[in-house]
C-alpha cells in the first residue's frame, strides 16, 4: 500500500514538474512599446519607460509589490523616523551582493546617493531638494538626514534616483548613457533581471538575474522591441509577433483591440491626470466664484466620450482615484455640466447674454498628443452652453506655452501631470502651494493652504495625513485653483496565452510575474 502511494506521489510530482515546465518559460516573452530609452543611469534617467526598465533590473530600499500601490520595504527590511522627522534610519537586508561579489551595504547606498547629488542629473532634485546627507551607521544601517521633515520621504526613496548601484562598476563622476560604458559592459543591478543585450531603439534583452534575492521570474527572458509608431505595433501584436504591448496606442487602436478576440485587454488606473488651470492673479479668474462657474460647466463624461472614445475616467479631485485620501469633492459640489449652478453664479456677478464673461482658453497642440485640440473645442462648447460665456481658444507649442504661463498671459489653460512620486502631496502642493503654484502659472496663494501643506508634509501619522488631504480637497472644490477633468486609463494588450500581467497607478510594471501558459 505504502509503495503504491509512494509511486503515485512520484507520478504526481513528475506531472506537476512537467506542467510547471510547460507553464513557465516557453521561449522569450516579446514586449512591444513605442516609448524610448534615454540614459541607462538611475542618476540621470527621467522618463517613465527607462524607469520601468530600472524597476526590473534594480531595486530600491522601498518599493511597491507588483500591481499594488502600498509601499513596502524592498532592499531595506525596515525604517524608523526620528522625533523631529528629519532623520530616516533604514535597516538593510543582509547578505546581498551584486553579481561581481561587491556587497550591497550601507556604503553602497551612501555612495549611490552621493553620486546622484554630485552628478546633478535631471532627476537629482528628487534627492537634493530633500536630502542633506547620508550617513553610514554600520554596514547594515544607513541614515538619511533631511533638510526638512518630509512625511512622504519613503515614497521618494521608492523612486529611481535613490536606487543603489554597484560602486565598483558605475563611474562616480560620469553619467552612463549605454551599458557598454560600464566596467564589464553590462548592467546588473539587484533586481530580478540583468541586461543581456542593449541595442538602442531596437531591442533590449533581459535575462533573469541569478543573484536576485526575491522570487525568480516566471519567464526565461524578456525582449523589449521598440516601434516607431503605434499602428505598426498594433499590427505586430495582432500578427502574434508580440506577446504583449504597452504604451502608447491611439484611441482608435485601443477601441479595435478591445473588441478583438485575438488579444486580451488589461486595463488599470493610471496616475496621469488632466485639468484646467486658472490664473488666479489676473482677471477674470482672480474671482474664485467665476472659477467655480467655469468648473461647474465642465462635463467630464462628454469629453471622455467624444474625444477619448470612452477610454479615460472622469476625475473629481486633483488627488487621483486609487491614491490614499482621494475624495470626489468636485462631484459632490458640482457634478458634471451643472449649467444651473454656472448661470446662477454668473448672473449674480452681473453677466448676461449681452454682457458675457469673455476669456481666452489655451491648450498646447502636440505635447499631450493629437487629442488636445478636440478637448479644447469640446470644453469651449461646454462653457458657452451656459449662454453667458464667450471663449476664445488659443494654442501655443510647449516651449512658448511654458513662457506664456511664466509671463501670466493665459487666464485659463489645460495641463497634464504624471507624478514624480506616489503621494497626494505631488498632486496638490505643486498647484496650490504659493511657491509651486507660481511656478506653474496659477499664482494661487493662501496662507491657510500653505500651512496645511506644511502640516501634511511633516505629519507622519497616516490617519492625520488623510484628514488633512480630505480638508484640502474640500477647499479645492470651493476655491478651484484648478479643475480636474479626467484620469488616464492604462491599456495593455496581451496574447490570450499570457498571464501574470499586473499594472498599477505607480507605473511600476514588473515583468517577473508574466508567463506564457499552454
Amino acid at each position: 500500500m505504502k509503495k503504491r502511494w509512494g509511486i503515485m506521489a512520484l507520478v504526481i510530482a513528475a506531472v506537476m514538474t512537467a506542467s510547471g515546465a510547460c507553464l513557465a518559460g516557453g521561449g522569450p516573452l516579446v514586449y512591444g512599446t513605442t516609448e524610448k530609452v534615454i540614459d541607462m543611469d538611475p542618476a540621470n534617467a527621467y522618463d517613465f519607460h527607462t524607469w520601468e526598465i530600472f524597476y526590473n533590473i534594480y531595486q530600491g530600499l522601498m518599493g511597491y509589490p507588483p500591481g499594488k500601490t502600498n509601499l513596502v520595504p524592498h532592499l531595506a527590511e525596515s525604517y524608523t523616523v526620528s522625533a523631529d522627522g528629519k532623520t530616516y534610519t533604514f535597516k538593510l537586508r543582509q547578505g546581498l551582493t551584486f553579481s561581481d561579489g561587491t556587497p550591497f551595504d550601507a556604503h553602497a547606498v551612501k555612495w549611490s546617493i552621493d553620486r546622484v547629488m554630485n552628478l546633478k542629473g535631471d532627476p537629482s532634485w528628487l534627492v537634493t531638494d530633500f536630502v542633506e546627507r547620508v550617513d553610514v551607521v554600520d554596514s547594515a544601517t544607513v541614515n538619511f538626514v533631511l533638510q526638512n521633515p518630509v512625511a512622504y520621504f519613503p515614497s521618494l526613496v521608492a523612486t529611481v534616483p535613490y536606487y543603489p548601484v554597484n560602486p565598483n562598476v558605475y563611474p562616480a563622476d560620469k553619467i552612463v548613457r549605454d551599458p557598454s560604458e560600464l566596467k564589464g559592459g553590462k548592467i546588473v543591478g539587484l533586481g530580478p533581471y540583468e541586461v543581456a543585450s542593449f541595442k538602442r531603439d531596437e531591442e533590449i534583452i533581459l535575462k533573469p538575474n541569478p543573484d536576485y534575492f526575491g522570487p525568480a521570474p516566471k519567464n526565461e527572458m524578456v525582449v523589449i522591441r521598440y516601434f516607431a509608431d503605434a499602428t505598426t505595433m498594433r499590427l505586430a501584436l495582432e500578427k502574434g509577433e508580440l506577446d504583449f504591448a504597452f504604451k502608447s496606442f491611439n484611441p482608435s487602436d485601443i477601441k479595435d483591440l478591445e473588441q478583438s478576440s485575438k488579444v486580451k485587454t488589461i486595463k488599470g488606473q493610471g496616475p496621469y491626470i488632466r485639468y484646467i488651470c486658472f490664473q488666479c492673479k489676473i482677471e477674470p479668474f482672480k474671482d474664485w466664484e467665476l472659477r467655480q462657474a467655469v468648473a461647474a460647466s465642465v462635463d467630464r463624461k462628454e469629453i471622455i466620450r467624444k474625444v477619448f472614445l470612452g477610454q479615460n475616467a472622469p476625475l473629481y479631485s486633483m488627488v487621483p482615484m486609487g491614491m490614499f485620501a482621494h475624495t470626489d469633492n468636485f462631484k459632490t459640489v458640482y457634478g458634471d455640466g451643472n449649467l444651473d449652478f454656472a448661470r446662477r453664479v454668473l448672473k449674480a456677478k452681473g453677466y448676461s447674454e449681452d454682457n458675457k464673461l469673455k476669456f481666452e482658453f489655451w491648450y498646447t497642440p502636440s505635447h499631450y498628443g493629437d487629442t488636445e485640440v478636440d478637448m479644447a473645442a469640446v470644453l469651449k462648447q461646454q462653457f458657452e452652453r451656459t449662454g453667458l460665456i464667450d471663449v476664445t481658444v488659443k494654442s501655443a507649442e510647449w516651449a512658448t506655452y511654458r513662457d506664456n504661463w511664466a509671463n501670466q498671459l493665459m487666464p485659463a489653460f489645460l495641463l497634464g501631470w504624471y507624478p514624480d512620486y506616489i503621494d497626494p502631496d505631488n498632486y496638490t502642493s505643486a498647484f496650490a502651494g504659493t511657491a509651486g503654484s507660481a511656478g506653474l502659472g496659477i499664482h494661487f496663494s493662501d496662507p491657510k493652504w500653505d500651512a496645511k501643506f506644511v502640516e501634511e508634509q511633516t505629519v507622519t501619522d497616516l490617519d492625520q495625513r488623510r484628514e488633512i488631504f480630505e480638508t484640502i480637497q474640500k477647499w479645492w472644490a470651493m476655491d478651484v485653483p484648478t479643475c480636474p477633468i479626467f484620469q488616464g486609463t492604462l491599456y495593455l494588450f496581451t496574447q490570450n496565452n499570457i498571464e501574470g500581467v499586473m499594472i498599477s497607478p505607480t507605473l511600476q510594471f514588473n515583468y517577473r510575474t508574466i508567463q506564457r501558459v499552454q
Binding site: 521561449g27 522569450p28 516579446v30 524610448k36 534615454i38 540614459d39 527621467y46 546633478k120 535631471d122 532634485w125 531638494d129 553619467i175 548613457r177 549605454d178 543581456a196 543585450s197 541595442k199 538602442r200 531603439d201 531596437e202 531591442e203 534583452i205 525582449v223 522591441r225 521598440y226 516601434f227 516607431a228 509608431d229 499602428t231 505598426t232 505595433m233 499590427l235 505586430a236 495582432e238 500578427k239 509577433e241 508580440l242 502636440s366 505635447h367 501655443a396 507649442e397 510647449w398 516651449a399 512658448t400 511654458r402 511664466a406 495641463l415 497634464g416 501631470w417 504624471y418 514624480d420 511656478g439 506653474l440
Partner: protein
C-alpha cells in the same frame, strides 16, 4: 585627363556652397520650429532652476548668431557635434544606423530597377497595347501613392490578412542580432557566420520594406525605360538583328535593353535623394532602425545637432553619388565637359 580632373574639381567645389546653404537653412528651420530640446527632455515637471541649468549646459541661452558660428566652425573641423538628448556623438549615432539604411536602400533600388526596367521594357515592346497603357498608368499611380500608405497597406495585406510576411523590424522577435552582428549589414553578417536560419529571417524582413521603397521609385524607371527602349527599338541595328532572324524576345530583352540602360544607370544615381527621402517614411512605417527613423525621432525630440548632422550626412551622400554619376557619364560620353 586634365579636362576630367578640372571637371571633377569644379563639380566638387560646387558642392561646398550647396552644403553651406543647406546647413544654414536647416539650422534656421529647426530653431524656428516650436519646442526645444530641454522642454522635450524634461517636460513640464522639472523646476525652473533645472531647466535653466540645462539650457545653459546646452548653450541654448546664447544668442542665435553665436550658436550658428559655433556650429559652422564645428562642421569645418568635420565634427558633427553631440546629441543634446543623449550626449552621444552624432557621428557615432550615424555609424550605428547607416548600415540598416544602406541595406534597405540597396534592396529597394534592386526592386526599383527589376520592376521598373522590366515593366518599362515590356511596355515598349507592346507599344499601344492594353498592357502598355496599364503599365503606363501603373507608373503614374505608383509614383503618386504616399510611400507610408503603401507600406501600411502591404503590412495589412501581406502581414495580417495573408500572414505571409513580418511587418516590422530587421529580425524576428526570436532572432537576436547581438549573436551575429559584426558589420551592421545583417545579410552580410549572417552569411559570414553561416547562420542561414538567421539569413532567411533577415531576408524575409527585408521583403516588405524594400518592396515598398522600391515600388515607389519604379514608376520613374518604368517611364524612363519605356522612352529609352522606344528610341532604341527604332534603331537600324535592331532592325538588322531582327532581319538576321534573331528571336524578337532576345533582340528586345538582351540587345535593346543593354543599350537603353546607360541613361537608366545615370537616373539611378540621381534618384538616390528620392530614395533617402522615401527611406525616412519607410523606416518609420516598418520600425526599421535606420537613419531615416533616427532623423524622425530626433526631430520629435528637437535634438538639433543630430537633426543637422543627419541631414548634412544625407546631403553629402546625395552630392557624392551625383558627383560619381557625373564623372562616370563624363568618362563615357566625351561630349560632356566643362
Amino acid at each position: 585627363m586634365k579636362n576630367i580632373l578640372r571637371y571633377v574639381i569644379v563639380r566638387a567645389a560646387l558642392t561646398l556652397p550647396m552644403l553651406f546653404i543647406l546647413l544654414s537653412v536647416v539650422f534656421v528651420v529647426i530653431r524656428v520650429m516650436p519646442g526645444d530640446p530641454v522642454s522635450s527632455m524634461l517636460g513640464g515637471h522639472a523646476p525652473e532652476s533645472v531647466i535653466e541649468k540645462k539650457k545653459e549646459e546646452l548653450g541654448l541661452n546664447r544668442p542665435m548668431i553665436f550658436q550658428y558660428v559655433d556650429y559652422l566652425w564645428q562642421i569645418c573641423r568635420l565634427d558633427l557635434g553631440e546629441s543634446m538628448i543623449l550626449k552621444q556623438r552624432v557621428i557615432d549615432a550615424i555609424k550605428l544606423k547607416i548600415p540598416a539604411t544602406i541595406e534597405l536602400t540597396f534592396f529597394g533600388m534592386l526592386v526599383t530597377v527589376l520592376v521598373g526596367v522590366s515593366l518599362g521594357a515590356y511596355a515598349a515592346d507592346k507599344r499601344r497595347s492594353p498592357q502598355d497603357y496599364a503599365i503606363r498608368i501603373y507608373g503614374i499611380v505608383i509614383y503618386c501613392i504616399p510611400v507610408f500608405w503603401l507600406g501600411l497597406m502591404f503590412q495589412m495585406i501581406f502581414g495580417i490578412w495573408l500572414d505571409w510576411m513580418p511587418i516590422a523590424g530587421r529580425t524576428g522577435a526570436r532572432v537576436f542580432a547581438s549573436t551575429f552582428e559584426k558589420t551592421g549589414f545583417y545579410v552580410i553578417d549572417t552569411i559570414l557566420i553561416r547562420d542561414f536560419a538567421a539569413l532567411k529571417d533577415v531576408l524575409i524582413h527585408l521583403v516588405l520594406p524594400s518592396v515598398t521603397l522600391g515600388l515607389m521609385l519604379s514608376g520613374v524607371f518604368v517611364r524612363l525605360t519605356r522612352a529609352n527602349m522606344l528610341d532604341v527599338l527604332k534603331s537600324d541595328y535592331i532592325l538588322a538583328a531582327e532581319a538576321r532572324g534573331i528571336r524578337h524576345r532576345r533582340v528586345v530583352y538582351k540587345h535593346a535593353i543593354m543599350n537603353a540602360f546607360v541613361p537608366i544607370l545615370t537616373m539611378m544615381g540621381l534618384q538616390v535623394a528620392l530614395l533617402m527621402a522615401g527611406a525616412v517614411l519607410t523606416e518609420s512605417t516598418f520600425s526599421w532602425p535606420g537613419m531615416g527613423r533616427l532623423l524622425l525621432e530626433r526631430i520629435y525630440m528637437r535634438d538639433y545637432p543630430t537633426i543637422q548632422g543627419v541631414i548634412v550626412f544625407f546631403a553629402l551622400i546625395v552630392a557624392l553619388v551625383s558627383l560619381v554619376v557625373d564623372i562616370v557619364y563624363a568618362l563615357v560620353d566625351p561630349r560632356v565637359r566643362y
